[in-house]
Subunit: 472 residues, 2 copies
């Protein structure tokens, strides 16, 4: 066996990675320069990961955000506090920062109460519920009405006017079968967003919606109602899954069950708020922007630790890692903490509109808004050519746990940037546990793991730096 073939047989994993990279990325055989340059990125990617895992700074930031600002419902005093706080955090890290003012809804939660009426045995009548976002209140002291259960819009339609003056109870169980829990969520959440108007169309008095979670527990999960402007608005609340099962049991065999519902929530006039921006300016092409972000607003039942405190601190931590390692990106890396995602993503739309007005050039945008869980994959949007080019960077991400790179990418806040040619991308974390906590009182710091959270920041940092150096 020649010395050369022996060397080939004993190629290190690093060499194999280089080979894979060269095959897919470089037009011809890899030049020594290309290999050298790739090795430089591999070294930087490793330094980023080690630095992140050693410091777990993203978690420290999240502790600060969730304890000092707390739940950050759009339009609330806490959301305003979070705007100031995150801006200061970014200033302290040495980033250029500013606010981009927007107007936001100001819905406030009030008293909320539901119970089974005329129930037996006594003491078991309270139902764990919470108002859905933007829900109108019940009339004054509350309403009492018979409950009618449905599991689909088809069932509702068949009932026709029989739901008049009743409380329609959407009791569609989230499907445990798909590995990607987001697909099951999409199916279940339509009743939360559209159920109120669909039921009101036939004269229903209110809706109760089974919480969108795979767990059976006592925590209602909220989320926004999308009222049809042509239809009268009726009160809408989520019911915890354990109580949804109990209510369903009571209704079995056509039994008559009355529920008392009282919601004191209401919509106040819009208030000024802001998207929070921070950046490190590129040394060679500062006008070309790589955006990393999350949304700063959250629901109010927990502290929005996963949704989307995680995404916000990951974006900030990604840029901190780059900066504190002394890396000086050629293009600008910008953090945007979007406001008002939960009430319709107006922060994302306003940001994209402003960017267009200012003729800013966003090459790529990454958003983390699927929870601070273990990153498993990376999605890349844009053209096939773009995908092929960036797919070649996979070996930079693999040592930090990314197991696949596939076409696709986006996010509620960065979506509007796609219209101006920005390539949307982002890491995809494990989704098994997200809906356990999503939009509920369980979405708190304690449900986030420091390493998993940090790894998201590490992935963002590696990709953002690569994009800042190489462009697209």
């Amino acid at each position: 066996m020649s010395k050369r073939s022996r060397l080939n047989r004993r190629a290190s994993p690093g060499a194999l990675i280089l080979l894979g990279l060269c095959l897919t990325r470089l037009p011809a055989a890899a030049s020594p320069q290309a290999v050298l340059s790739f090795q430089k990125y591999a070294d930087i990617a490793e330094r980023i990961r080690i630095s992140g895992l050693e410091s777990e700074t993203a978690f420290q930031m999240l502790r600060e955000l969730t304890t000092k600002a707390g739940p950050r419902l759009t339009g609330s005093a806490a959301a305003a506090r979070a705007v100031e706080m995150t801006r200061m955090m970014m200033k302290d890290m040495g980033f250029e920062t500013w606010l981009e003012p927007i107007m936001v809804q100001h819905w406030v939660r009030g008293v909320e109460e539901a119970r089974l009426v005329d129930t037996d045995p006594p003491g078991t009548s309270a139902l764990k519920i919470t108002a859905l976002g933007r829900s109108v209140p019940t009339p004054g002291p509350g309403l009492t009405a018979p409950v009618i259960e449905v599991r689909s819009f088809e069932e509702l339609q068949k009932l026709g006017l029989r739901v008049k003056d009743k409380i329609v109870f959407f009791n569609k169980r989230m499907n445990p079968a798909p590995m990607d829990t987001f697909s099951a969520y999409g199916e279940a959440a339509q009743f939360r967003s559209l159920g109120a108007s669909e039921a009101a169309r036939a004269g229903a008095a209110a809706v109760l919606v089974r919480s969108a979670t795979l767990r059976t527990d006592d925590f209602p999960h909220t989320g926004m109602v999308q009222y049809d402007p042509q239809i009268p608005k009726i009160p809408a609340a989520a019911v915890a899954t354990a109580d949804a099962d109990r209510l369903s049991d009571r209704l079995r065999n056509g039994a008559a069950v009355n529920v008392f519902l009282r919601l004191g929530c209401r919509e106040l006039p819009p208030v000024p708020s802001a998207n929070v921006v921070g950046q490190i300016r590129g040394t060679e092409r500062p006008e070309e922007i790589i955006l990393v972000g999350g949304h700063l607003d959250s629901w109010d039942l927990g502290t929005g630790a996963h949704d989307d405190g995680a995404g916000c601190v990951q974006a900030m931590e990604a840029v901190r890692l780059i900066k504190d390692l002394g890396l000086r990106p050629k293009r600008t890396i910008r953090i945007v903490l979007f406001m008002n995602e939960e009430f319709g993503s107006s922060g994302g739309r306003d940001y994209a509109d402003a960017a267009r007005r200012k003729t800013e050039r966003h090459l790529a945008a990454m958003e983390s808004d699927r929870g601070g869980f273990l990153p498993l994959g990376f999605g890349i949007g844009g053209s096939r050519e773009t995908f092929d080019k960036l797919k070649a960077w996979e070996p930079l991400l693999q040592p930090s746990g990314i197991l696949w790179v596939r076409p696709g990418g986006g996010g509620g806040d960065i979506g509007p940037l796609a219209r101006t040619g920005t390539v949307l991308m982002g890491f995809v974390p494990d989704s098994q546990k997200y809906f356990d906590v999503h939009h509920s009182a369980l979405d708190v710091l304690d449900s986030v793991h420091p390493r998993e959270l940090e790894l998201g920041a590490v992935i963002m940092a590696i990709m953002a730096y690569g994009l800042a150096q190489e462009g697209i």
Copy 2:
């Protein structure tokens, strides 16, 4: 474009999977029969996953095991209870069951206490410690000695006889940098297993060992001491990481710190125990065995939910899934719940010895003993040929979340079977959080997620069934 090439272009993911399978598995182009047969397995794999995720039965089993048997320290009454209980569980599921008697160590934990002596301010002197398994007790009322800190065996060696009559404090921090936390664990755990004899060699009075976890908290993590039979045995305890940091702070700049240590643990005479076996007999080749397993014994600080209650219930659940779906495997699928892994894996050795004596033929063995976390990969041992053949089954595992199949496989309990040609394999779960709870009071049911746990059983079931039908 011809109709045929249009069909090719629009090949479904399923068809691509088939193609991949055929290329690697079948000698020539795929025959329609082979395609049909693979589709049958793909359908079965999907039914297994859906059935598992809908029922989450593994978690119900784990609740029963951890609440009713509790911590299952080898030789304890609780371990004996677990033997009876799991045998009954398997009987109730309709499996053939028996016990394979073995003798096991019987070490008992007694009083344990450590504190800084002559400390100031008062009230901050207690150190959170726990005896390491098989540790000898301290002399009668405890011992007090100066503490000397080391971070490596080299440092210890350099100190020479200066450690005489002192408490050697091994304070090696677990390295957060590797993605695979098991590699960092291996490095840190050597001080726990070998530190006592290394220190005793130079006359030390006792050892304190920093707990092997990446968290900084108040929970000591135990594990077994391997005393060198040539060296006097000295007491050995693990100290919680927060207190290890505190102790290290006190020792800074050569300050003299005395610690009082009292351990009442002791070794009692060996007691009879058993490996618990259950199986469904193969319909065509019952003499060929596919083994799935975990170890039934655990440490005593938590309830051994991840380590290794998870593996035990996953093995039982894998076979339950197969049976309850009405599948009738051609070869025997056998569950073995091994006893006494934590005190030296004698259950696994005794099982392999007995199998050899009975000339039983174990084709393959899978063990789950890396926690009940999200399965990410699958390792296959044995020859390159075996690997290539089984690698072709990857498409059966992917829909249930397996992102890679690589060479490698094994486990403390099934390892001894390799000598008789058994192919060792198993799924590899995410390792980010395992050492947070491992061997500590945090290893309880609450730290296990029902879906993640179930997915391990699903992966085991798919592979066990495939192997039972196809052989190796």
